[in-house]
Subunit: 127 residues, 2 copies
DNA sequence: TTACATAATGTTATTTTATAACAATAAACT
DNA sequence: AGTTTATTGTTATAAAATAACATTATGTAA
């Protein structure tokens, strides 16, 4: 179990507290009172947290969310559903999807390391 | 069958000719001799071409590729495999994946409109 | 055809997202 | 303690995308 550095912990705390994906510069403005002053400090922390699987990047939004799946301490397969109305992002932790896709990748002749899947539509509330 | 405007056609031609995903500013520098001078012109063409399903955006790379799947004239479900060594990007047009994932989304209670899936790993050549 | 609406374009400036480069500290190792 | 390695702080800049608005082209209906 890796221990976090000060900056990593500060950034992770903000993301954990948030109910929605946060952008890097939003994070920055929220941690400036804690002494993190410049973008590279935020991006470096984000990079490490992603490596550790503590957070994920929502590529279509350039935003970052806490991993909601306690078992994924290495980020190798991520899936999200994204509501186009309320912007809610939910991590899908479905072992069937994961198995299905890993299997598919192998059959396709690819030495697969990870995947990212993003669903777009309307969530239960919004539809 | 929609007809393309001049700018859309110019941008599509460049992307079609390329064997790899192109970034917006790479496209721009390649079409300046044809009279497209500024980023908004490129981005507007890209947006329309995506709407039409002629091209797709590789979110993890901020790059654009021609649709390799002649049947997808509306871009609602895309899947790619991306080689982390040679950067080759291949569109996966597998109706099974598509069916499986659509099905999954529906069961999850989401009114699903589209998805984007990106696999990362090593392609056949590189592994 | 002419008038009106709609869409596409051209252009400048700016915003947003991300990284390069390098000096300064701190942590881990032998 | 001295050396290596990782992390931090900082400034500047690069890369990606959009806002805003004036202009031109295209479609449509009287």
């Amino acid at each position: 179990m890796e221990t976090l550095t000060r900056n990593q912990q500060i950034v992770l705390d903000i993301i954990n507290k948030s109910s929605e994906p946060l952008k890097a510069y939003t994070i920055l403005s929220n941690v400036q009172k804690k002494g993190i002053k410049a973008p590279p400090q935020v991006y470096r922390a984000l990079d490490k947290l992603i490596e550790m699987g503590k957070i994920h990047k929502i590529e279509s939004k350039n935003a970052f969310v806490a991993c909601q799946n306690s078992s994924c301490n290495v980020s190798k397969a991520t899936a999200f559903s994204i509501c186009e109305s309320c912007e809610e992002v939910t991590e899908i932790s479905n072992s069937k999807i994961s198995k299905y896709l890993s299997n598919f990748a192998e059959k396709a002749g690819m030495e697969y390391k990870k995947y990212n899947l993003e669903f777009f539509g309307l969530c239960k509330k919004c539809k």
